[in-house]
């Protein structure tokens, strides 16, 4: 029998839909179904918040009265939903690859910095979900050649716009924050602006790629 998602009532008005045990090999396909499920639930207008995470979705209901209905409906919806129904936006993140750790990352993998830039910028990344801080996207798609253990000592301040690598993940810091990832570049693209009508550029399920900018400050003697 094929495994089924676990569904828990967390409170009288919130549910956890957990599909993280379904398929260890194809996390991305499961995540696409999570985005499609999220979209469907959003269209009903019965939730205050819908929070996709790693192969799971936490649902916060407007009314306690709808809890049992959704406990029963979610497994059926999951069977019906196709991963292909969700289409996110694609973003181009212009990046200057001059981060203070780019040489470290290159040396660690016996690559040149140009090779690091090529590998990092040729991939298409999926935004699995957001968390940690406003606008911080957990990205899927970092080439294994660039997987790099986190820094032994986290930096007290990683500047806003830093493009970084931590273990099997790459990401962009939307604001100044402490962080233990290796900084390989910087983008001027604003990921989060609380005063904007659309505060967050990137949404769960979007895709993005990094577009290398030539570092105009560099001189070649």
């Amino acid at each position: 029998m094929k495994p089924t998602p676990h569904i828990y009532a967390l409170t009288n008005s919130s549910l956890l839909f957990d599909a993280s045990h379904l398929d260890a090999k194809d996390k991305l396909s499961i995540q696409k179904k999570i985005w499609a499920l999220t979209n469907h639930c959003k269209s009903t207008d019965e939730f205050t918040d819908l929070v996709p995470a790693m192969n799971s979705l936490t649902l916060y209901l407007k009314s306690d009265k709808d809890l049992n209905k959704w406990l029963q409906a979610l497994p059926l919806l999951w069977d019906d939903i196709k991963s292909s129904t969700f289409k996110g936006q694609h973003h181009l993140i212009e990046t200057t690859y001059n981060g203070e750790d780019i040489n470290y990352v290159a040396n660690y993998h016996n690559l040149s910095t140009d090779e690091v830039i090529n590998i990092h910028s040729k991939a298409k990344y999926h935004v699995l979900f957001l968390g940690f801080q406003p606008g911080f996207a957990y990205l899927h798609g970092l080439d294994e050649q660039l997987h790099t253990p986190r820094r032994d000592e986290p930096r007290v301040r990683v500047p806003k716009g830093s493009v970084a690598i931590g273990a099997a993940q790459t990401g962009i810091y939307p604001a100044d924050t402490p962080g233990g990832w290796h900084i390989i570049g910087h983008t001027n693209t604003s990921l989060f602006d609380s005063t904007s009508a659309q505060p967050c550029l990137i949404q769960p399920g979007d895709t993005l790629e990094f577009v290398p900018l030539v570092n105009k400050g560099a001189t070649h003697d």
Binding site: L10, T11, V51, N55, S56, F129, S194
Partner: protein
């Protein structure tokens, strides 16, 4: 306007906080003791969600630059108005140039100050609350400091003195069951519920950390990130539970011991470091009844005030 003469330990502007942005990683923020906010606002015939000042520990001094009416609720932090003692649960008329000072209290941690008409700072993403981590909302996204001017609307109208008692404080916190019961196992969950905890000094608006001297809650499980919210109780591998509060993150990878019921979550606003906390799992029906009881208390207050204001 209210001028901050002394900001004390932590002084912030809060309302009910932000809803609808958790999928972008945006925390709720908002008053940790929303019932204190609601009661203080009701006493002034404000909207329940009007912004208030959250005063942590006390030791702050505020000067009014216009007339208004205020209501205090939450912890008794030994407030005085021009040297005269004033008490939580009551309304007071305030005149231009008067100074409101807070000492500190023996019980409870946070006091709430509502002003007639509410605090008038700009809304950001649907709320006036201060998000201290992401640094937006309130005034410049930060705790208030000496010299800040808090915008309020002057009020010269009539004033009827009214008061209201607060819902009872309790140390036995009721919980919804753990979604990770299979992973953590019954012995661990039984031990968790049978243990008395001390509130760690390392607690803040993000979460209350709980200490104890057993090592039977230590574990080595790591989970794919899942959505968490105020009231989620995380169990990191070191075995010291964390009760997430309003400034907590939106996702996390620690197993959950359960969720604090809606009616009891506000108690964490008032626990002080080294206070004792205990937990008890309850059914979904019991959680719903406890919430109804609290809503009933507030409804009765609204009715009583309607006849008086």
């Amino acid at each position: 306007m209210i001028k901050v003469l002394k900001s004390g330990v932590l002084l912030t502007i809060q309302d009910f906080g932000r809803v609808g942005y958790r999928h972008l990683g945006v925390s709720k923020a908002g008053s940790l003791d929303p019932f204190a906010q609601i009661i203080a606002n009701k006493l002034l015939n404000n909207n329940d969600n009007d912004a208030v000042l959250e005063i942590t520990v006390g030791l702050c001094e505020l000067e009014f630059t216009c007339d208004t009416v205020i209501a205090l609720h939450g912890a008794d932090l030994q407030a005085t108005l021009d040297g005269q003692a004033i008490y939580p649960g009551w309304t007071y008329a305030v005149k231009n140039k008067q100074v409101l000072s807070f000492g500190t209290g023996r019980a409870g941690l946070r006091a709430y100050l509502a002003v007639k008409g509410g605090i008038q700072n700009t809304e950001v993403m649907g709320s006036k609350s201060t998000d201290l981590n992401a640094r937006f909302g309130g005034i410049e996204g930060r705790a208030l400091t000496t010299g800040d001017e808090i915008p309020i609307t002057p009020y010269y109208g009539e004033f009827i003195k009214v008061g209201a008692i607060a819902p009872a404080q309790r140390k036995l916190i009721r919980l919804y069951p753990s979604p990770h019961a299979n992973l953590l196992g019954k012995p661990l969950l039984d031990t968790f519920a049978a243990t008395a905890y001390k509130v760690s000094t390392n607690s803040n608006r993000m979460g209350v950390r709980l200490e104890h001297n057993k090592n039977s809650l230590v574990h080595s499980h790591s989970l794919p990130s899942l959505g968490v919210s105020p009231g989620s109780i995380q169990l990191p591998p070191n075995g010291d539970p964390i009760v997430l509060l309003n400034d907590g993150q939106t996702t996390g990878g620690y197993p959950l011991l359960g969720t604090v019921i809606e009616a009891d979550l506000h108690q964490f606003a008032q626990f002080r470091p080294l206070d004792t906390v205990e937990f008890k799992y309850v059914t979904f029906e019991e959680a719903a009844q406890a919430k109804q009881k609290l809503d009933g208390h507030l409804h009765q207050l609204s009715l009583a005030l309607k006849n008086n204001l």
